[in-house]
């Protein structure tokens, strides 16, 4: 995507190639082409392109992919923070 790359070195995506069977599900579900298949193993090709949606981890049948998944919007995080500190309870809103 032209001009649309997010912060570098923040993504929590990890792949343990040892257990990978090379089924290719991660390649199939990733909308940012983070993975590539090399021989019979997947590898992370472009980690910084990951948006941590969690599709790869959820669809990995041998569970060798981990990621702190979420959609992540600032107002949601602020609301969580406010609620955590009991500053605000509940709240309407409807971002998505």
């Amino acid at each position: 995507m032209f001009g649309l790359r997010y912060l570098e070195n923040v993504v929590t995506l990890r792949l343990n190639p040892a257990g990978c069977t090379g089924c290719g599900r991660c390649v199939e579900v990733c909308p940012h082409q983070v993975f590539a298949l090399e021989g019979r193993k997947a590898r992370i090709d472009d980690c910084d392109a990951c948006m941590e949606c969690g599709a790869c981890a959820k669809n990995c049948p041998v569970r060798v992919i981990t990621v702190d998944a979420g959609v992540g919007c600032a107002s949601g995080m602020i609301n969580e923070w406010l609620q955590y500190h009991n500053i605000r309870r509940g709240g309407g809103g409807s971002c998505c």
């Binding site: 995507m1 032209f2 001009g3 649309l4 790359r5 997010y6 912060l7 570098e8 923040v10 993504v11 929590t12 599900r25 199939e28 579900v29 990733c30 909308p31 940012h32 082409q33 392109a49 990951c50 948006m51 941590e52 949606c53 969690g54 599709a55 959820k58 669809n59 049948p61 702190d68 998944a69 979420g70 959609v71 992540g72 919007c73 600032a74 107002s75 949601g76 995080m77 602020i78 609301n79 969580e80 609620q83 309870r89 509940g90 709240g91 309407g92 809103g93 409807s94 971002c95 998505c96």
Partner: protein, 386 residues
């Protein structure tokens, strides 16, 4: 708009919050009130009747209650989508979950899965024009596929439940489901296969690619699994973002106007309120639209830069020459901070930002924005007594 059978789910019958509010917009600890996503009152799609959008006739046995639906969209469908884009009736823009027939599908017809946000439902049926297919609509509580997948409502459990509830095993002879790629964060394909015997194929990101996917032997081309974020994609998100900020704009804008009116009189109050509104609008609308062309990767930085430009415009065209030094510094501190805040908020709408990145930006950005606004207020107060 023919959306009937909308059923309110009250607290007692609400779906488990682990599904309802989890994960969208951050980690969501599954509490009753978590996060920005979804109102407290969750609306479900209800039962299929002959009032479902695009209803033509019943197919199969009467007991099955499978409606054949039109693939062409009516004026009302377009108007409804347009209103939803402006936040009107958006949380009730919903169709009943279940199995629908497109054309005259037989046992070998493909099964496509989507959510019950009416805009998703309309896009998929419209893309399947002239074909025979089954459409399996999951109960996502009127939320689009991607956000619902993040929340888990477009998920393994609901898919398995819906397959069983709609008698899909009897209706089709094959055992393959076609899912939208953006549904993958909620669905565990191997789990679905284990529990139902149906294999999951993630077909494409966009409904508009379904015809070429189906025509080319169900091959997903690399283009079909690439997510974009075009100017148009960003533009259609702006109206609802503006609508969602109206409440805070009215609150803070009103308070600002009153405070400035008491301190500095009507003229200054008007300029200050317009300056504030412009900063909000720059963050909510201008930054999203011009996103790729504003330097930097951080949304807070992009927002701050746009805010500086807005402040400079004000200075040049709203009589900046007559401002005191403290007022000028205050404007150049507060307005970029406000703009940065709203730009950062847009991360929730993008197709490429990661929660880890947003967290990092917030840790660094929020204290900076807060300090800038406080410093600006102090400067204005001090400037009043100089």
């Amino acid at each position: 708009m023919k959306i009937h059978q909308v059923k309110k789910i009250t607290r007692s019958t609400r779906i488990p919050q682990a599904n309802a509010a989890d994960r969208c917009c951050g980690s969501g600890k599954g509490t009753e009130t978590a996060s920005c996503c979804g109102p407290l009152m969750i609306v479900a799609g209800g039962e299929i009747t002959d009032k479902v959008p695009g209803f033509i006739s019943w197919v199969g046995t009467a007991a099955e209650k499978v409606p054949r639906i039109a693939t062409s969209l009516t004026y009302a469908d377009h108007a409804g989508a347009c209103m939803a884009r402006w936040g009107i009736n958006r949380m009730r823009y919903i169709v009943p979950p279940g199995r629908y027939a497109i054309g005259t599908p037989g046992p070998d017809a493909p099964v496509l899965v989507t959510g019950n946000y009416k805009m998703s439902f309309d896009m998929v049926r419209n893309a399947l024009s002239g074909r025979n297919a089954w459409l399996l609509v999951l109960e996502t509580f009127g939320v689009n596929v991607w956000c619902a997948a993040g929340k888990g409502t477009f998920g393994t459990a609901e898919l398995v439940r819906r397959i069983q509830k709609t008698g899909l095993h009897q209706a089709v002879s094959h055992r393959q489901l076609l899912l939208p790629i953006l549904g993958a964060p909620g669905v565990s394909a191997h789990e679905v296969a284990k529990r139902t015997g149906f294999t999951v194929r993630y077909a494409a990101i966009r409904a508009e690619d379904l015809p070429s996917f189906l025509d080319n032997g169900m091959v997903t081309t690399p283009e079909m699994r690439k997510i974009g974020f075009t100017t148009y994609d960003r533009l259609v998100l702006v109206p609802v973002e503006i609508v969602l900020t109206l409440k805070s704009i009215a609150l803070f804008g009103g308070a600002l106007f009153l405070a400035a009116l008491l301190a500095n009189g009507f003229g200054a109050a008007t300029v200050m309120t317009l300056a504030y509104l412009g900063a909000v609008l720059t963050g909510v609308a201008i930054v999203p639209v011009l996103l790729p062309w504003i330097p930097g990767r951080s949304f807070a930085v992009k927002g701050a830069l746009a805010g500086v430009v807005w402040s400079a415009d004000l200075y040049l065209y709203a009589g900046g020459g007559s401002w005191s030094v403290t007022t000028t510094i205050a404007a150049f501190l507060a307005l970029p901070a406000i703009c940065a805040f709203y730009a950062l908020n847009f991360t929730g709408c993008t197709t490429y930002t990661s929660p880890s990145g947003v967290k990092k930006e917030m840790h660094l950005g929020m204290p900076a924005m807060g300090s800038a606004v406080i410093a600006a207020v102090l400067l204005l107060v001090v400037g009043r007594f100089l």
